[in-house]
Subunit: 206 residues, 2 copies
């Protein structure tokens, strides 16, 4: 499955939990009419305020394992003792309709997805340092102290994997980081394989 056989394109954002991926991708989806979010499946419990079918599809482990067996996931991964999966059917439907799709994926899932879809654009979002990451995780107040320690411990390993991805953003200034994200998407839309229709039209005028 190469995404450029579809009219839409697939982007994924990767990086340690707390790096600011969710904030960046929600802002981009709000402001860019051609981009949609793809809702993942997870076995983890909803955090306060999270809505089923909007933030995630919250399912139990038995259902998750059944979906793995059915080959329903384009990628799935177990992170911090919870499972996360991206529905193949859901994304293909969006890409076929010409929508660009943005995914929030963990490092392990991103590596699996990249193998299956080489044209996916993989954007790694890094916090500037471990102190900033700790401060953010504490400030958002979503995780217990033990979960925060586990996330910080995992962050180093995730950072070591960044070289496998296409772009690197450092989220030390949210507005600048957001502008850079928009620049990446805007440039991607100028790629020739994304403009085949336009290229054919131009040839008709020569």
């Amino acid at each position: 499955m190469r995404s450029h056989t579809y009219p839409g394109n697939l982007y994924m954002m990767i990086g340690p939990s707390g790096a600011g991926k969710s904030t960046l991708l929600r802002r981009l989806i709000d402001e860019d009419p051609h981009l949609s979010f793809s809702v993942s499946y997870t076995t983890r419990a909803p955090r306060h305020g999270e809505v089923d079918g909007k933030d995630y599809f919250f399912i139990d482990r038995a259902r998750f394992e059944a979906m793995i067996k059915e080959g329903a996931f384009l990628e799935w991964a177990e992170v911090h003792a919870n499972c996360y999966g991206t529905s193949r059917a859901h994304i293909v439907e969006q890409l076929r309709a010409g929508e660009d799709v943005l995914l929030d994926v963990d490092v392990q899932g991103a590596i699996n997805l990249k193998r299956q879809m080489e044209s996916v654009v993989a954007i790694f979002v890094a916090p500037p340092n471990v102190a900033a990451l700790r401060a953010r995780l504490e400030a958002r107040g979503k995780d217990s102290a033990a979960v925060i320690e586990r996330r910080l411990k995992n962050a180093r390993g995730e950072m070591e994997q960044m070289e496998q991805f296409d772009f690197l953003l450092v989220n030390d200034d949210l507005d600048r980081c957001y502008d850079e994200l928009r620049t990446i998407v805007a440039a991607d839309r100028l790629r020739l394989f994304r403009r085949r229709g336009l290229a054919a039209e131009l040839l008709d005028h020569f």
Copy 2:
């Protein structure tokens, strides 16, 4: 020779003569302190106002052929009965110094260069249609009527090659086209392989 073994990166602009490549690349070089132009060698006669060593190195065919034999060119091509060549030593020196380099190359030269340096970013600049191209070639007043006819005849063949390159810009509005060119270069600088130093620095903070 892969350009990402050097600190600088190489961009090339390709497209029919009269598409506006020179205007775009001069503006980008004027405004972007990290980008330099690489001066090509040519056997064609200088046009009015062109300066040797700035627009081109103007040399005769015997000297050009000697340079081919010496392997001095990263790419060379014969277009409209004139030869054009890009000096390997000149570019490598710029890339080693960490400068980004922008080349104005014809289609044939671009294909040769892409084979030797896979990480070169190839940007095709197309005029919106043949009437606009004719109007521009006539307006710039640099070519005889016979040369203009030959350029128009070649343009179709050049347009047919565009699918081989990375990006497509349509120059129907110079300012918009220029912004798109800047977006491509800005996004390219956010690529992970271009930010290895930053990536290593970040890891030190985790």
